[in-house]
Amino acid sequence: MLDDFIVRAIIAGIGIALVTGPLGCFVVWRRLSFFGDTLAHSALLGVLISITLDINVSLTIFVVASLVAILLLRLERTTNLAGDSLLGLISHSSLAIGLVILGFLSFIRFDVMGVLFGDILSVNSNDLLVIWIGGALILVVLSYIWKPLFASTVNYELAEAEGMKPERVNAIFTILLAALIAISIKMIGVLLITGLLIIPTAMARNLSDNPRQMVILSIIGGLLSVLIGLYASFEINTSSGPSIVVVALILFILSLMRIRKKNYE
């Protein structure tokens, strides 16, 4: 059954949506969407390094994204630039460096579109293993640091004063984000992964009035986006990544109606 690429795609998609839901909530709560985007952009560089040096793709993406995160934190402390400028600087530089390296690798057949927007056909059973084991690890660690991470999201100083060690859990969270990007690039692509993180969560925000509800709805939104998006992708032959994100957007637009209703009440 796993030989069927449609089945593989669906299993992969479900695995990723289960992880993007909770992580996406923290990305939205902590206003890290541009940060997530920057890590994702560095994934192209990761893919190319892995091809050049012939090492595992997911691992390379994970290492490169983590390094980029560390670099960002360093620069934030040592320069006078605002966070968003630094993010723009790193984000586009890493994308550009990736594309320049690609120019040197003209002897390799390389599907740039696949890396940028996701290529569901390329998901093999090995990737499934990476997605599900990696995803499970991410969720286990996340549930372990949930309380301190959530507390430091609400109020950093309060969390620190009451012994929740926010600095440490923030660093762990960044690593989890890098890991998510590493396992999901093949499926959804460098340019669109943040979309899957943010849009179902934004939809969930419109519909929920407490954090637990928001996480659950965000997971459901992600699952629906992936399943409907993949279906559309097979039926009308569109790229998987964009299809998934478009479905997420439609769900978000539908959720806006609920907000309008709420405001009238």
């Binding site: 309380k147 620190e160 004063a161 009451e162 012994g163 954090p211 509800q213």
Partner: protein, 249 residues
């Protein structure tokens, strides 16, 4: 006093940042069951001193000894991001696991039981302060740091909350570090006052401080008189403790 009774001790503590001292040479000690109040004008380093005590700065000069980890903190300012839906009930268990009974009784004490399922962003300033205080006392801390805990609370509520703070320190036998602008009310509930102005300019019992010259220079004769008036009222407020709390309920 026995050293084991000391919850926290600052020795010569200070912080030097951007080429100037935010606060320096602070000596401060809080024992179990004791309320220590920091007073001083704006920018005198009250909040900074509290944060030093809580260990929120990486590099400080001087020394801080903490003999407890059961610490609750009510920061001066807490803003809840609108991207985060958060009810009072969720907020109560932010850094701690609590039984429903404990949550209810803490909310009850500060008079906001009816807001348990409300969204934090829908609360008024005064209600929010009461929730912050309820959250801080719910886990029965050994040390409670309150940075202007009654800002935005109406006057009756203010008096009631200060007497609640006093009751808490007695019932839980916990130490309290209190920062306040409301000199006139707060003095009645305080065991020890530290008057800050970039450094400790005077300290002692409320009466000592009120009569000291540095205090009069800093706040003027008028507030010194105010203070003694409230000293006089002390017994009255204290004895009607229970009644006031009942009123809040």
């Amino acid at each position: 006093m026995n050293d084991s009774e000391t919850l926290i001790r600052l020795t010569n503590a200070g912080i030097f940042k951007n080429k100037k001292w935010l606060v320096r040479d602070v000596d401060l000690e809080i024992k179990r069951g004791q309320i220590v109040t920091l007073i001083g004008p704006n920018g005198s380093g009250k909040t900074t001193t509290a944060k030093i005590a809580l260990g929120l700065y990486k590099t400080i000069s001087g020394r801080v000894e903490r003999n407890t980890t059961k610490i609750s903190y009510v920061p001066q300012k807490v803003s809840i991001d609108w991207t985060l839906p958060l009810r009072v009930a969720d907020f109560m268990v932010l850094t701690q696991n609590l039984k429903v009974d404990d949550i209810d009784s803490a909310l009850n004490l500060t008079g906001v039981q009816h807001l348990k399922d409300s969204n934090l962003r829908d609360l008024s300033g005064g209600e929010f302060q009461r929730v912050l205080l309820a959250r801080a006392i719910a886990k029965k801390p050994e040390l409670l740091v309150l940075d202007e805990p009654v800002q935005g609370v109406d006057f009756t509520g203010e008096v009631a909350l200060y007497s609640l703070i006093k009751t808490i320190s007695e019932n839980l036998n916990c130490g309290i570090l209190l920062i306040s602008h409301d000199l006139h009310v707060v003095m009645s509930a305080t065991d020890y006052v530290v008057c800050l102005n970039g450094h400790v300019c005077c300290c002692g019992t409320p009466r000592d401080v009120a009569e000291s010259n540095p205090y009069k220079q800093l706040f003027g004769e008028k507030s010194a008189k105010l203070l003694s008036i409230y000293e006089h009222n002390h017994d009255h407020i204290h004895s009607s403790d229970g009644n006031i709390i009942k009123e809040v309920e």
